[in-house]
């Protein structure tokens, strides 16, 4: 159990004004614009997907932060020619309390899809699930207040079994509860198929490798695609 720099869960609130759509049209490899930029250089039709999370979002330990799952998704959006811009607002070590304080700064930019990936660090520090729930709810409330039309996605997280069955179960239950209450799309477990597989994780056993991040992105994409607006979809 190493440093406290990680996190696992994510909630994903995507907010798009139109219907969902998914396009499979492979495009030439264009490097994705992953990083956060406030300059809205793009035309007004480009919408913003904001990933708000911890080290899993930030890409802790990866050579290039754009290899983290938001970056993978950005590349996918790009290759599908979907008019979305990805903003990675992940900070390693972030807890739900930290996220709750930080969210105001982040909400200065217009958001169409809000993806919430926080809680893992709470779990690793043994913070009470009640506290985690409270903070997540507060974050969601703030997003809703500012951008009532934004789509919300919550990325679910779990703590490893060694934490003890009581805590594991209470913690796991936090995410479906928040999602249901706020009518958010839910990825049940962000690290499905990655957590516990040594080959897909960095040596610390917590953070996915580049390969792991692709699977994580797939987990997210399955849910996220339903929240995207496919007006320009070219099937």
């Amino acid at each position: 159990m190493q440093k406290f720099k990680l996190s696992y869960i994510a909630l994903f609130a995507a907010f798009a004004l139109s219907a969902c759509g998914q396009k499979n049209k492979p495009a030439a490899d264009t490097s994705a614009k992953t990083d956060t930029t406030t300059k809205s250089d793009a035309s007004s039709t480009v919408k913003t997907i904001l990933f708000f999370g911890d080290s899993l979002t930030a890409g802790y330990g990866l050579d290039d932060p754009s290899e983290a799952f938001p970056g993978v998704i950005a590349k996918r959006l790009d290759s599908l020619k979907l008019p979305y811009k990805v903003v990675n607002a992940g900070v390693s070590g972030e807890t739900t309390a930290g996220g709750n304080s930080r969210i105001d700064w982040i909400l200065k930019q217009k958001i169409d899809v809000f993806i919430l990936e926080l809680g893992a660090n709470d779990g690793l520090r043994g913070i009470s699930p009640t506290e985690t729930t409270k903070n997540l709810q507060s974050i969601v409330d703030k997003v809703k207040a500012k951008y009532p039309n934004a789509k919300l996605v919550l990325l679910g997280m779990q703590v490893p079994p060694n934490m003890g069955p009581d805590y594991v179960n209470k913690f796991k239950a936090v995410f479906p509860a928040i999602a249901t209450k706020n009518k958010m799309a839910l990825v049940p477990f962000l690290l499905q198929g990655v957590g516990g597989h040594p080959d897909l994780n960095q040596p610390d056993g917590i953070h996915p490798t580049e390969k792991g991040a692709k699977i994580v992105a797939e987990n997210v994409w399955t849910v996220l695609k339903g929240e995207l607006d496919n007006t320009k979809a070219v099937y």
Partner: protein
């Protein structure tokens, strides 16, 4: 009368006989010389013995940092081939699995994050798991029982006999865990430890797929093993398996520089002891043999061959050297045994007192070899002493013409010093440099002595009063002692002073968390809105807020317009990728902290609105990212690009428990950025710690607390031991140095007797002789002490810079005090030396010392 047969065979028996007979002539004088050797060797043996013992003590304490000879750990179970290798290591093995879990205390209904350590085997092999009651440390492995960290016991009001639930199983608490080997690192701080026996681990139900567990294997070797070789072999295998190893040595290295400093300091002490021994023995032998030249000339007149004379005195010297060294070794060992008993109330730890045969052996060998080598110098000239020398009184010049054998002896002496230095330092380069340093010091002292003699010859004129003329003339007249006293006083002063300087510099480096108000508890993840309230609670608990800093996470996006993407495209850009991938934890403030020092540029504490932000970059980061003053940077402060430039470069002392930063922003830009606060405080006891943690957790459940008290207390114990050892060894060596110095000045006793007696016979008053002697010694003492101290200033600077690599600072006051002490000591001994002459009728002295 038969003609002398110079072809006669050497009669060994007769040589020994002559050596013995010659020594009978003046036993009291002989005793004086032997005593100088005794002091020199006693100093050496005592210092060496202490050194070996103390080194062993510290080493065995260091072993408790890890508790075994070798530790292998990883966060995956070992696969079959690896397991086979792991099982082949060590003579005794223990395994441990450790992981974070939520422990539940039914009595108080409390839940808390803890670190579970499931142990199997007899670990620890060094040190003990310290518990209350004591026997619980080993007996807990016998049943479904647990040891619980002291703070945890207090926090949840748990008592021996209560139970704790780990996973699905209840364990009876049989002991309070006070201290355990190998308990260090961040995890030990963030979560208190609970030990359970390994055999009950499976049924807790916590070992499932996805569980994050650390697997640790402890090994103990019953026979000596070359760990470096072993780990070198293991390294690639373990590395491939994603496992790490730790040995006592690596742990010591990671513990900080204290061990290295101690090692280097002890080497220095060993070297100084060696030279103190040399000074003691060499000066005694040198003067002794010089005095014998007259006797040798007489023997030659009576038909003794030059080679025979040479051998007679060589035998005598070996005898003297051997007796002196053996007695010295015995005395040194006695001191080593007695001192700790006498001072046991002052020394806060026990020094083990084992007889160190290594020290004794080295002492005796060294005594004899130095005796011979330094006797050889004057004895070589014996070969050239013609019987005529008896009649001429100027034996000073005997055999002066360049004698190649002399150079051979010099070479031997140097070789010998390098060799013995190597025994102390274990490094040829170091030995060469140390010897070179001593040679230079020696030459400076000898040069100054020669200059002094020349200058005196020129300066003294008849205008001076008789006493002054006489006193100063003694410095250059034949049979003067300027050179030998300058060198021995100067060198001893230099050693004493160097040890003192280095000692005080090293002690200044040791920061104990218990001393002063060093932080031992860290609160983090405090939200901005909680900032004042948390500080408030801290103060209300009577605890100091040692530091409270905001931390903002930023990323570096551009350096002089280059981005991470540019790096991938253009491989000629000399910026490592990590510089952009890294998330920087930065802070903002308007002043430098005490642990920081500007090395370049200008510190700007406040940002001007609308302009690029002046930031301060830490030295290592600047080097890695190739940053210079004025370089343009663009930071990404969680979505907001912030143009900045490198305004200054700082050096940061990372060794202390406090917040340090790679990048520091000025005030005025990041105040509104997302941030959390870190608060550092000092708690004095477990009780205080528990009360404080409870108060914080209750009001601020999101705040995490790291209690470094336990980790630091183990380190503190070690560091304070090390610093006491350094103090003790330096104090002891300094005192020994002074004793050796006294002894070597004391042997000049007979040099001046004849003249003093003559002066008295001619009608000089006691007062006049007193004044003449005092002047001579005052001048010699002060000049050589001054030279010695100056050499020490330079020497310790070099040592600090190149050997210890620590900032140099010199305290002049103690140096001044030392200067006066040595000067006064020299004068006092000089006067004591001539006391006999002053108090007795001249004839009596002439008869007894003829």
């Amino acid at each position: 009368m038969d003609p002398v047969n110079y072809k006669r065979k050497i009669n060994v028996g007769w040589l020994f006989n002559m050596a013995w007979r010659d020594s009978r002539k003046n036993r009291s004088r002989l005793f004086l010389f032997i005593s100088a050797i005794v002091f020199g060797i006693a100093a050496l043996v005592a210092i060496y013995s202490f050194r070996y013992n103390v080194q062993n003590d510290v080493d065995s304490q260091a072993a408790t940092l890890i508790g075994a000879d070798l530790l292998v750990s990883g966060n995956k179970p070992a696969d079959a081939p690896l397991k086979k290798i792991l099982d082949s290591l060590g003579d005794k093995r223990s395994t441990e699995r450790s992981f974070a879990s939520m422990a539940f205390f039914p009595k108080t209904n409390g839940t808390r994050l803890v670190q579970i350590r499931a142990l199997q085997g007899d670990y620890p092999y060094y040190g003990t798991i310290e518990t209350t009651p004591i026997e619980a440390g080993t007996s807990f492995k016998n049943g479904q029982t647990a040891l619980v960290d002291k703070t945890l016991m207090l926090q949840f009001n748990v008592h021996i006999g209560d139970s704790v639930r780990v996973g699905n199983e209840f364990f009876e608490v049989v002991g309070t865990l006070n201290k355990a080997p190998g308990q260090s690192g961040a995890m030990a701080g963030i979560a208190p430890v609970i030990y359970i026996p390994m055999k009950y681990l499976e049924q807790t139900g916590l070992m499932k797929i996805g569980s994050r567990v650390n697997y640790t294997f402890y090994y103990k070797y019953d026979h000596p093993v070359d760990m470096d070789k072993l780990t070198k072999k293991l390294d690639p295998i373990l590395d491939k398996a994603g496992m790490n190893y730790d040995t006592i040595k690596t742990r010591k290295e990671n513990t900080g520089r204290a061990f290295g400093d101690l090692g280097r300091f002890l080497s220095l002490v060993g070297f100084v002891a060696l030279l103190l021994g040399c000074v003691g023995v060499a000066s005694a032998i040198h003067i002794y043999v010089r005095e014998k030249i007259a006797s040798i000339a007489i023997m030659r007149c009576l038909g003794v061959k030059a080679s025979e004379a040479f051998l007679i005195y060589l035998i005598q010297i070996v005898g003297i050297g051997l007796i002196g060294s053996v007695v010295g070794a015995a005395l040194g060992t006695a001191i080593q045994h007695l001192l700790p008993i006498i001072f046991k109330d002052f020394i806060p730890f026990t020094i083990s007192v084992q007889i160190s045969w290594m020290a004794i052996g080295q002492g005796i060998l060294l005594g004899v070899i130095i005796s011979i080598l330094f006797a050889l110098l004057p004895l070589i000239s014996v070969r050239n002493i013609s019987p005529l020398n008896t009649l001429r009184m100027s034996f000073d010049d005997a055999g002066r013409p360049r004698d190649p054998l002399r150079w051979l002896v010099y070479a031997l002496i140097i070789l010998f010093i390098v060799g013995f230095t190597f025994l102390q330092l274990d490094s040829w380069v170091g030995s060469l440099f140390f010897t070179l340093g001593i040679l230079i010091a020696f030459m400076i002292l000898a040069g100054i002595a020669t200059l002094l003699m020349r200058a005196m010859k020129l300066i003294i004129n008849s205008g001076w009063s008789y006493l002054w003329r006489q006193g100063f003339a003694n410095l250059y007249r034949p049979n003067n002692q300027t050179l030998i006293l300058m060198v021995s006083i100067g060198l001893s002063t230099m050693f004493i002073c160097t040890l003192f300087f280095i000692q005080s510099i090293l002690i200044g480096q040791v920061n104990l968390s218990s001393s002063g108000n060093q932080s031992n508890m860290i609160l983090f993840d405090i939200q901005k809105s909680q900032k004042d309230a948390v500080a408030d609670v801290t103060r209300k608990q009577g605890l100091p807020v040692l530091q409270q800093v905001p931390i903002v996470t930023v990323r570096l996006e551009q350096i002089n317009g280059k981005t991470a993407a540019d790096l991938t495209k253009d491989t000629t850009i000399k910026i490592p990728h990590g510089v952009f991938a890294y998330e920087y934890r930065v802070t903002f403030r308007d002043t430098l902290s005490v642990s920081e020092k500007l090395t370049d540029g200008k510190w700007i504490g406040k940002a001007e609105a609308g302009k690029d932000v002046p930031v301060s970059v830490e030295e290592n980061l600047a080097r890695r990212a190739n940053l210079k003053i004025g370089d343009k940077l663009v930071f990404n402060v969680q979505g907001v690009p912030m143009p900045a430039y490198v305004a200054s470069i700082r050096k940061v002392n990372w060794g202390k428990v406090q917040t340090n930063f790679q990048v520091v922003f000025p005030t005025g830009v990041l105040e509104d950025a997302p941030q959390f606060q870190v608060l550092l405080t000092h708690v004095s006891s477990n009780k205080v710690s528990v009360a404080f943690q409870q108060a914080i957790v209750k009001r601020f459940p999101n705040v995490s607390i790291i209690d470094l008290g336990l980790v630091l207390s183990i380190l503190d114990e070690l560091l304070s031991k090390i610093s006491y050892v350094i103090r003790f060894m330096s104090a002891f060596s300094i005192i020994t140095g002074i004793v050796v110095l006294i002894a070597s000045v004391r042997i000049s006793k007979y040099q001046r007797i004849q003249e003093s007696v003559l002066l008295r016979t001619l009608g000089a008053s006691r007062k006049q002789i007193f004044a003449i002697t005092a002047l001579e010694y005052l001048f010699l003492g002060s000049l050589s002490a001054l030279t010695g101290i100056l050499i020490a200033v330079a020497g310790s600077w070099l040592l600090a810079k190149y050997s210890f690599e620590i900032p140099y600072s010199v305290s002049f006051l103690p140096a001044m005090v030392l200067f006066f002490i040595i000067t006064i000591l020299t004068v006092i001994i000089g006067l004591l030396n001539s006391r006999g002459v002053l108090n007795k009728p001249p004839l009596e002295i002439l008869r007894s010392n003829a």
